[in-house]
Symmetry: C2
Subunit: 167 residues, 2 copies
């Protein structure tokens, strides 16, 4: 029973953090829903294909195509043909898209940092260590890794535990 309570607390915290994250990110995105994640994913993996994006976002194929259509119409992303596979599309951010991506990531960062501010430096280190251990236990496939990291600021994530687990 004591364990159930811990699970409640951890689950509630995860929901609350995820709510904040998504709210902050979506506020800087052109539309609600998966657009913010799509932008940061393309930003991190220039040349990403629609199919990989689809799997990272857990969306249907047509839904992903339409989402990309809208990002392109908004001037945030562009389609190129992939050099290695002529069926595939290589997605890239436009300069405006890069700006939006940065705005999303820094909004996310700010919200997260303020939520974590109640912890002391030692507590934060300890919490992060345990979080990394949990994260390593969760990663399964590479697609799943993209999904988990869909709102991460990769430039700040040297030595990422998700990458470490995949390798």
């Amino acid at each position: 029973m004591a364990d159930s309570k811990i699970e409640n607390v951890i689950g509630a915290l995860a929901l609350a953090f995820a709510d904040t994250l998504q709210r902050d990110a979506q506020a800087k995105a052109p539309e609600p829903g998966p657009a913010a994640s799509a932008i940061t994913l393309i930003g991190h993996v220039p040349g990403l294909s629609i199919e990989r994006l689809r799997r990272a976002l857990s969306l249907s194929h047509s839904g992903t195509v339409r989402l990309v259509d809208r990002l392109v119409a908004d001037g945030l992303a562009a389609r190129f043909s992939a050099p290695d596979d002529h069926r595939a599309v290589a997605l890239r951010l436009t300069p405006l898209g890069e700006t939006t991506c940065s705005a999303i990531l820094s909004a996310r960062q700010t919200g997260l940092a303020s939520a974590l501010a109640v912890l002391s430096s030692e507590e934060l280190q300890e919490f992060g260590k345990l979080a990394a251990k949990l994260l390593r236990g969760l990663v399964s496939t590479e697609d799943h890794a993209y999904r988990i990291c869909r709102l991460c600021n990769y430039s700040a994530c040297l030595d990422c535990p998700v990458e470490a687990e995949l390798a």
Copy 2:
């Protein structure tokens, strides 16, 4: 920069946990989206009004009314008139709704427990302690508390940090 990395890890973990939670919960609900949370909230607060439910789910008013319509049509919930305020609706689960609610909560519990299984007992205690501290720092209003706890198993949550923070 090291701090940014910790925030990445914690944010990614929160997203991953929230994904799992919502997936497990929605799998037992009659429809995707906020239905699972609505069922567990009504289960925990019998007599809940549509307006309070609306705020907990962060939905529009008409959206909430329609959601309740569907739950009623599915035989999971029922509308009664609130004894103290004759404008308001008092929502309650039917026996079938109670069954569904239990299924949602135990699916959520199972998924969460397996994700936490990589931690030792001491690590889990430590992680839970820090999570509770973070959670207390996040709670603002009573509506927000309902939102945070929207998928909690209240029967297992004696001494809830959210309640403690509100009081």
